[in-house]
Symmetry: D2
Subunit: 353 residues, 4 copies
């Protein structure tokens, strides 16, 4: 990999996790970025090929511990660290380094909510104030000028893209949102857990964190903003399920229509909200979103369906949790932060079958 | 397989489908039943081992066409035929033959509803009046004396077991039932369809028949009975999803509590309703139902969870769609119809991993 | 579970592993055995439902540590412990307790070979001499009178059943055995390993321990006996592959014919060797063994095929690695050791689809 | 998609199959090619989004029947038609149109061998003489000047890349090649077959066409050339297995060493043969090829291992059957035929997890 002064120099912190690997996959083919630093404390000293064999042979630097990182020349870091560890680390970075954070550390505006859900006080309150929520299609302008972007969780990304325009438009009841979520198993990360072993998760289906998942307050925060209400006023039903597939995520939202709206009005609102967006696609007619449509791509695919219950509708959106739900959206935000075309490095067509 | 006068002689009609195969699996080890007839029009003349290699070597009779069936000595038939074909056929059976129907042909009380959803007039109206809905735990007494039992669909089975006691008890609002359903791919049958090919369905997730699945009116019919209301008054939200696993089904019901009920009250009602039931298990504490718990068994596993939205709860139930959702429940009903212990032939422990 | 004096009292040591769980599944429905003791050091004090949710509600005893085990009344133990730990433990058991060992500890006759492959000296040499190799169909008579039976590994079971009669018959060259093995992921156990995570093992295929798997010397020992030669004279090619499925194992043996034998002669030899065997099935014609045929059952299914290279043939055998490859064969051996019908508790029909 | 005179205009014949879809995926992002024609007789008139939802929104032309194809301006066609149908069709194409054939129609030099394996006389003998076998790394120079390139089958690609240099180098015995092959289920195509349904193929493992697969003569033809012998002199053992994954293919070759060669010599020969090749990677040390390393990429990954049997070795190679095994190699060949950098449009990093 020839280093070039004209390319953005990227460091990936926490490169041994799945979001780190996915960031490597995307950035290796990004025409205006190059990876100059990879940190992974427990894998320090190892070549990438030992940690991710499919990434061998691409000339990537070896993994180093965060203490041994050489920040000189680094323009931007992608953080894929476990929650809680990112805050102090980012606070200590050289001032000129931009940050695209893929962890949960800076997503919640309210430090008290953070403390409640993550079990410890926030450790970088000043940075929290500065952080911009990185749901690109909704916060594009603020992201362009941000130093620290807090990329949304995968569930909030797919949920908010499909619901925020409807709440903003006064088409659905923000107090009656039933969000039934389904995710592939990469969403649980690369850590060793019994329930993500092949023989445990395969050929089976499990809900988890029922009514108590950490992405719920993040969704509520943004739904509240869209509704012009206080975050603590909004409570959503949110039930995630683990699906026996590696990638992909689907949000099935069961919504109550307001003001005489019909399913077709919801669809029109989404079409209008996302007209011209390169990565959001509202399907035609009754075409059904499937995770197969977005595997490996940065796309979000959405459609709206009539419910049998009068006055209700069903909104379905799908993303690849590791791309638009994490590392792809991170690259999209990096592009904005460096005044590059937003689609650069993100033009992969979905991999099917 | 030695024929014995003391055993129930069973014919399986439509034996080449998955419900037929599953009925064979269960009946082959049933101590008081023996299979004497297998029909499958397109496979007529073939040994079972050619149609289902895993069932070879068990001494089963060859498949015959329905026209060539020898009904002499047949005590009961299991029907696993496509909807619409069962009605006239059953009407023409010898009067002494009991019928456990696994198709959709006799589930709906109202012929007009049947015609609306299945696209043709009902062809055996007299039999329809006689048919008993075969959700064993709810209609046990009537099943005992029935000649024709219409086994419920897989989705209604898991849904109604978990919701009927709550509606009956006045604990949840029958007008606000959001039923998010997930099924393994055997639910789509053995017919050749592009969307059930391994390379299409694997590693992916698809909703289907959104708000328009044929199991919705069946659920509404029984919820209405539980609520003491007319079937046409009840409309449920029902969205099924195809999950990349062969067997297993989960119903995630998002319900609105009524009369000050709390999640714990729902659980207590279910515990009370199913106390002593051999095949229904209400989990302890916050233990989470998973389809892995019931694979290959006739069990239904249920639990209730608090929602983040005040006044709502989440009810989750799982079954094996081919066992309790079809052929297992059919055997359970046969046992009742022949005054046998209800658990006979159904004591398999779930297969995990 | 009512204790009955007439039933065999079984303890399962290492009950938290997959072979332990599978032994529980089978023994729970064994008409002449009952489980009275479950040990699992790291899960000591936990109810079975916490360790294996699908086994909840069956009245099994809680897990205890091996130190706290109450051996009074125990007739037989199933050992599913990691290799090396079983030897001293078994040596310390009350003399009257029979042992069905599912670990690798007593499979190799030669202590030096054991030490070479397992990295430590054998710790119970006297017991080793006493142990009978538990490949039921080959050592039935000796197993009947054994106190300690060392059940074969899963790979040796499927390999030896299909090859030993051919070597004994002088039909194939024992010096040119190419054994290409494929196993589902339960074969790697329930321990937490990165390569058995769903997202790592799913949608992929990996060979492992190429030319160096611990089951190779076990296969060589038995092939040597069949050939009437010394174990150290026989070397087999053995390459196992990890297949993205939970259960099931296939051995594709590429063999060189000797003495003018043809594929049909091999098949005839297998048919003759296994005539009347309840759990070994030689397929008709060119029917192809598939792991789907044996899932959840104790069967081994075999067939022989002509090769394109003159003078060679292909022998294919399949088993469920957790049943005939481990706990099912253990039950089969227990039945022999207690003079019970060999098929007791093992009559499950394969679960398909 | 802006049409540009400077881009190669590509037609894809048989675009509704998996190789057609994969060619679309790759060519949509090829900087020097554009798709101007898609034929699919049974899908004629349909937009791509109806046939392959993941390819909707990319501005591709609708599918047309082959009769309605407009050949004006077409520079090259990719043929993904069923075998036998391509021959006359290609013979009738305008003379200036180059052809990259992904079918089996022109792979076999000997028309008699073709007729034997494909069941009918070859229908374009003149073209057969002209066709160049499209295994890029072995026939690069001839491909550059070819008008008709016959891309190898997926199995021959992975097999020959790993074995031809060894046969050429006199390091292994061409008369004792045991080739145990494993493929994901996309290899069976998109046609509706019972054995490729999710519920049949999932959680299971099947060999097929044992000793009689159509790729065997293709492998023998090329091994014979490498050995400097007549094609009819070479017979290989070739046993393919269907693996429950969508993509990926592994060839486990069990080979006999000649002339005192050792495993390390084989590896050195491969390293030498493929030095500088962009798409062939020989792994370091004992690193194990896994299909996960190449999913979605055009790479072939190989390594060599010592066998336990003296004088033997094991060679393992993996590819993505739809990329290097089909459409990717087709694009690679197109690049050569149009004097473009060989890697153009093929630089995707493997998709893992």
């Amino acid at each position: 990999m020839a280093h070039s002064d004209s390319k953005i120099k990227v460091g990936i912190l926490g490169a041994s996790g799945y979001t780190g690997a996915e960031a490597m996959r995307l950035l290796l083919r990004h025409p205006s970025a190059e990876i100059c630093l990879l940190t992974a404390d427990r894998k320090a000293g190892q070549p990438v090929a030992d940690v991710y064999p499919h990434l061998g042979g691409h000339g990537l630097p070896d993994m180093v511990s965060i203490e041994d990182a050489d920040w000189s020349g680094v323009d931007v870091v992608f953080c894929g660290l476990p929650h809680g560890t990112t805050q102090e680390l980012i606070a200590a970075l050289p001032a000129g380094v931009k940050v695209v954070d893929m962890s949960a550390d800076f997503r919640l505006d309210d430090p008290a909510t953070y403390a409640e859900w993550y079990g410890h006080e926030h450790r970088a309150l000043a940075l929290q104030k500065e952080a911009v929520y990185g749901l690109t299609e909704l916060y594009r302008e603020r992201i362009r000028s941000a130093r620290l972007v807090a990329c949304p969780g995968c569930y909030p990304t797919a949920t908010l893209l499909s619901l925020v325009p409807l709440v903003k438009g006064g088409l659905i009841d923000a107090d009656d949102l039933v969000i039934d979520a389904k995710s592939g198993i990469t969403g649980a990360g690369r850590g060793l857990k019994q329930n993500t072993l092949f023989s445990e998760a395969g050929e089976g289906l499990s809900p988890y964190s029922i009514g108590a998942h950490r992405h719920a307050p993040e969704i509520e925060q943004e739904i509240a903003k869209a509704a012009g209400r206080a975050a603590e006023d909004i409570r959503v039903n949110f039930v995630p399920h683990l699906i026996p597939m590696s990638r992909g995520e689907m949000i099935t939202s069961h919504v109550r229509l307001t003001g005489g709206a019909r399913a077709a009005d919801l669809k029109a609102a989404l079409q209008s909200a996302f007209a011209g967006e390169p990565f959001v696609r509202i399907l035609n007619g009754k075409d059904v979103p499937q995770t197969q449509m977005v595997r490996g791509s940065n796309n979000c695919v959405i459609n709206v369906f009539e419910d049998r219950i009068p006055g209700r509708a069903i909104v379905i959106s799908v993303i690849d949790n590791l791309v638009k739900g994490s590392s792809g959206q991170a690259v999209q935000n990096m592009n904005l932060m460096f005044i590059l075309p937003e689609t650069l490095g993100l033009e992969q067509v979905a991999l099917f079958p």
